[in-house]
Symmetry: C2
Subunit: 322 residues, 2 copies
Amino acid sequence: VSYADDLVERYRTTGDRGALARLVSLVERDAESFRLGRNIGETTNEEAGFVLGVTGSPGAGKSTLVDRLVANFRAAGDTVAVVAVDPSSPFSGGAILGDRVRMQRHTQDPGVYIRSLASHGHLGGLSVAVPEVVRLLGSLNFDWILVETVGVGQVEVEIAGEADGTLVVVNPGWGDSIQANKAGLMEVADIFVINKADRDGVRNTKRDLENMLELGGDSGCSIPIVETVSTEPRGIEELVTEIQAVRERLSRSGELDERRGDRRAREFSRVLDGIWRESLGEVGAVKEMRNAVKCGTRAPIEAAHSVMADVVVALQKRLEKE
Amino acid sequence: VSYADDLVERYRTTGDRGALARLVSLVERDAESFRLGRNIGETTNEEAGFVLGVTGSPGAGKSTLVDRLVANFRAAGDTVAVVAVDPSSPFSGGAILGDRVRMQRHTQDPGVYIRSLASHGHLGGLSVAVPEVVRLLGSLNFDWILVETVGVGQVEVEIAGEADGTLVVVNPGWGDSIQANKAGLMEVADIFVINKADRDGVRNTKRDLENMLELGGDSGCSIPIVETVSTEPRGIEELVTEIQAVRERLSRSGELDERRGDRRAREFSRVLDGIWRESLGEVGAVKEMRNAVKCGTRAPIEAAHSVMADVVVALQKRLEKE
């Protein structure tokens, strides 16, 4: 039995939090590990918890909102994992954790697990660790996995693609909803939350969102817009009701299975492309030839073909090691 | 001597337009061909003509502007190739050609070559044919290669990356410059053209552009903004003067060589990635395994590793054929 298997077993039987933390660290450090992938990868659609992405501009109040949702889900007896995805590099780390001090009241609750992850992998782009950790937590029978991202950008849209459903959090004021539109978040939102709804401009923001949804809208089902003041709290019950409704609708219609299937297929492709890019990086001839192409001493197409033999050898060596 | 070599030789010695047209078609159909890549790929930086990208919203008047530029360059004794990049699929084709009827006055001029190309390759994304045709035309001693794209989007920005210099064409009015900013065109512009400058709002548009350039501006050199009315024509002489100045500045500073080197290096990587994606597409096991992953019967990471042996065999077979 592998170390990972052992940790899974320990967490499942005794609820050992240390085992869970080490398991997540293992996945974060080496998500591509073949063995680990095989051991924790066999979650079927039906077993897994619901992954809810929470995204929006920095300062929109996502952390407080997540804290309120956790309390609400817990009060109903559900278990919750929170994955906070940081834009920081895997090595700078930690900066965002300070923001989550308020989450500490949940750390003593065995029904809650909270973890920060870096959004970028060592090859750039969305870290393969994020979807893999999310899948791990889903397979460990958390009822809800909340994935909170910081910022509005390409990575946030990609992470939304890794969720079963997505909350987009905006604040009253024109710029926020425009930015959400610009970043492509309108297309991934299952629910809009206008947080800090005690401020001026709520009605305008709601109208902006409705207009943009109408413009972009090929989907027949309307996207709910919920107003909250997470600090009071206000509107959280209504938000939870809408989240439950979205989960039920997605599950009943088969869309949940479809989203999860697409997600796994994307991950499959991402892993293959990662192997390719890593192998290219290992082959000295690729670097040399790229320089020659840059200097104009070799033609790009011909040069690319000329390194393929070395690249294939590198791929073969990699296969043999596994 | 290959068919491609023969065509190059015929065009170079006799200026045979039919040979040139067949050569471009050959590159368009099979840009990745190893032989062809080797034969036409040895252009050094110094020999090649200047590639000027012309981009901007549909209806901004790019075709008329290009037509005026062609006339101006020809009057100065320079030869010009025009590549019109269409957003249409390689198979629908032709729709945009109608727009270029006004270019017909140049078709009898042996110093002008005009060609439409589809922007998307058969694998999606920017067609590898576009940079390759541009490089071919540069190597055939056209003094200028004008690459006109239709629309404002990711592909346009990518095509701008394939040019030595880029004109971004906008019209008076707020939305146009905002859209250029949103699409990332501000970063690639070497010159802004406010075309249809006989309309209201020129001053505001100029101020908008200046503000956005200032906000985004890490570069020390200011980007010229030229007002034109291409239908009259007005401002074309000034525009040509600015284009010449940009060409000279880029050439003198060494930036032209650098841009061309980066471009070739990107093409090198794109060809390698293309070989990878094509090979994945050829392997039945990849398709089967992706389906299994989608249905949840196999785990993504493990499934990806399990097909690698077949993928390596496919790559090897490909190598042997070459």
